[in-house]
Assembly symmetry: C2
Homo-oligomer: 314 residues x 2
Amino acid sequence: MYYIGIDLGGTNVHAGLVDEKGKLLGQAEIPTPKGAEEVADAITQAARLTAAQAGVAMGDVQSAGLASAGSIDPENGMVLHAWNLGLDHVPLARMVSERLELPTLLENDANAAALGEFVAGAGRGYRSLAAVTLGTGVGCGAVLDSKLFTGFNYAGMEAGHMVIHRGGRPCTCGRRGCWEAYASATGLIRSVREAMERDPDSALWRFAPTLELVNGKTVFDAVEAGDKTAEGVLEGYLGDLACGIVNLINILQPEVLCIGGGISRQGEKLLRPLREVLDREEFTRDSPRRTRLCVAKLRGEAGIIGAALVPVYR
Amino acid sequence: MYYIGIDLGGTNVHAGLVDEKGKLLGQAEIPTPKGAEEVADAITQAARLTAAQAGVAMGDVQSAGLASAGSIDPENGMVLHAWNLGLDHVPLARMVSERLELPTLLENDANAAALGEFVAGAGRGYRSLAAVTLGTGVGCGAVLDSKLFTGFNYAGMEAGHMVIHRGGRPCTCGRRGCWEAYASATGLIRSVREAMERDPDSALWRFAPTLELVNGKTVFDAVEAGDKTAEGVLEGYLGDLACGIVNLINILQPEVLCIGGGISRQGEKLLRPLREVLDREEFTRDSPRRTRLCVAKLRGEAGIIGAALVPVYR
């Protein structure tokens, strides 16, 4: 059985062909054009390229899955708004389905990434997984009881928009104090910049000579160099990140919780302090069966592998 | 098909016999004794009484389900600690199963109540429900895709222990700022008492002449009487309650979310201000398909009905 997955990004359309175990047999990437028809055509082209590259006839492909950022309606296969792609209420799943002559489903990128990790990454061999991706926002997805969890209206797992600091930082969603406003890479960068403005002597300035140059790695580098201000920022960041993770574990108790995104490349530097909080605060801290915390295993491929398998696991 | 459900409380053992639709055909209640063997005997006696009362032979009963408060291990049917019942690591499901000669499962009371509401109460006819019970704590349970959701280790849905105020009030679980510390009846009573101590002229003192007499209704009565201090307390309480509800909806997107416990008897006085927050803050506030917020329909029966059907829906 073969499945095609497409990760629709602002820069590239990334397609992959996988088997039922999520093994990636072929990949293709082409630049993302502007406009609905053009995007559908590009997806179709990338899908055919990846099948050709894998040496698989399109007639042997079962289905296609699309993963997209932006505001989408997975139930009806609609991209509601994706301004950077020039898409506004586009029935993308139907348009691609007609072109490829394959059943085609649309899913949000965080859910697709979670499914990819479940099948072929950190969740392989387990029955449930929550995936947390630290990027511009905090993207979350979950597979529960070996099924992609979406909520009744396909809008679930927006755990980034769980308030942990009532009345705190404004969030893009309109609430205040959301986990995402603190634990995303964007949230961390904001905290680093605030600390740099308060402390002109901090070593943070050595790693980011201007505020614009701060990235998700800056604070880790400055802590490595022994900077106290950076240590304070990192401690606050890890506390907020851990707080939301404990909340999620207390609610979902997934077998595995994996963390992805650029910050997750810090590996044990990130996981060790998080585990200390989990050991102290998890409701199940004394239980023999606890959620396994780890970093995501797949990088750019989680989205295409997960997208490809949405028709199997939704 | 007949099922027996038992709600094991500190005061009474409450048993019921239901059909597969959760219709209650018989009930019996006997005082809870102390000690493991005694409790198992009392459960057995209550189960047989309820079957006799319903006119159903024990041979026609499929299974039994036990709902218990305290610290339990549903997977192994063990009551780990229930000090008020004198139980410490008791394999209660096995003990009852041997006595009744029926397959017997143990579940925590919040999950059983959620299942009862799903089958025979506020969730009837829907495919998913989250139940939030405002009592000593905030008890939560969920049925997702018509299956009782428990997490991989049967310890999920401890949403009361989701931090919403980082660094806030200490919680019984060891964290600070948990939803339960604010949104439970206990949390509300604490806030009312604090306000009364600050304001000796508040009308709250008319409805509760001493701090010990404050209950979950006091603040609603004083608001009704036009007391400004009470209004402030209620506004804070509803804000905290709504905050956790929006968090839960953003994560789980259940078709129905019902609120139970004494405070839920306030009905629209409780729901109207909560809906205002949901309309403003839910991630899906502009979506046509949103979670339906309502009060729980079953009172004391949710636990026995849900307990009875755990063997069907787990």
